[in-house]
Symmetry: C2
Subunit: 191 residues, 2 copies
DNA sequence: GTCTATACTTTGATAGAC
DNA sequence: GTCTATCAAAGTATAGAC
């Protein structure tokens, strides 16, 4: 008999995928046990607070991932390079449009109110970090603010439309279009 | 004693608002009765098929609304004028960012699979109608395709980001940015 | 077309054995 | 740390009176 023993760090991404696919309300305990292979006993062992605690930890985990791979580079590294890294990381994270943004999905219904602070912090930091990088790259502040907001919204919209149309290539084109547009505003050898 | 008697046509927008706010799974019968004031008896009278039938009729209703106010004008009327009408109607429909797109929200989780055909038809027609109008307005086909996809994705992303940030002005800026961008591609007195 | 009362299922959560 | 068994609450849906 094979028995798999998990640590919490292994469990989070597993459960996260279920919430991502089904949404907060759709992710029932029985669906989570069925799709992860973990029993209710195990799940409540890791998350005594139940669903709410699970989702909160998942949101925090997503936030940490983006902070490390996207936000911090934008805030700290060479801006043009960090922006290039962003397009690459975002494409990989969302599996070129096959995956949606869990935090974006939570934002759309009243699930938002449960995690309002974390959700707005996530989007706020993304927009601000991108804007900051653009300014450091030489883009005027006002233009940078517009481009940053447009990019984050565009990414979310591209994911949504790709899913709605059952056509992941929509996301690839969205990302390529945004990258080209942003690049055209970068001074020097950009355009 | 006041007793309100409804017709189905009055009930649909009422119930639609609950689905829009709570999502398909979040919109439980008791929440629907609580928020609409209609009892379960009335609801099952109008929708014998229960939740699934309600949501299907709501999706069809949204589709009809957009067909009449947005898609048909884009397909039929003076293209530049129809595009201008689109920005105006979309802003009004989504209450300048205070409301989200029910069909977009359905697209994000597995609710999509229940209504896959209607959802993809809605987005497909929107993108195609806009592209068609742009072509008729003199924009090259490839550019028009890109702009149309970008606009529909942008609108959805703007709604999502506005909600995530608790800041409806994001949607106003998104819409203004898209309109300006699209206009810049229109020949003649556009730019 | 409205409603309340009821049947039955699923849900979230707990207890306790291994 | 894993699991199964159990419970109260909430879920969908139905029946039938007005």
């Amino acid at each position: 008999m094979t028995r798999t023993v998990f640590e919490k760090a292994d469990v989070i991404p597993l459960v996260a995928e279920v919430f991502r696919e089904l949404g907060y309300e759709g992710a029932t305990m029985s669906k989570i046990t069925a799709r992860t292979g973990l029993s209710k006993g195990s799940l409540y062992h890791f998350f005594p607070g139940g669903k709410e605690e699970m989702a909160a930890e998942i949101v925090a985990d997503v936030e940490r991932w983006f902070a490390k791979r996207v936000f911090e580079p934008l805030e700290r590294d060479d801006p043009k390079e960090a922006i290039a890294v962003m397009w690459r990381e975002v494409d990989a994270y969302f599996r070129s449009g096959q995956r949606i943004c869990l935090i974006g999905a939570f934002a759309l219904d009243e699930t938002r109110d449960r995690f309002a602070a974390a959700i707005s912090r996530y989007f706020r930091r993304w927009v601000d970090a991108l804007q900051d990088a653009l300014v450091r790259a030489g883009v005027p502040r006002g233009t940078a603010a517009k481009l940053a907001e447009e990019s984050v919204a565009g990414i979310q919209g591209g994911l949504l439309l790709a899913r709605g149309l059952h056509d992941e290539s929509v996301f690839a084109r969205t990302l390529a279009g945004l990258e080209e547009r942003v690049s055209s505003y970068l001074p020097k050898p950009g355009r």
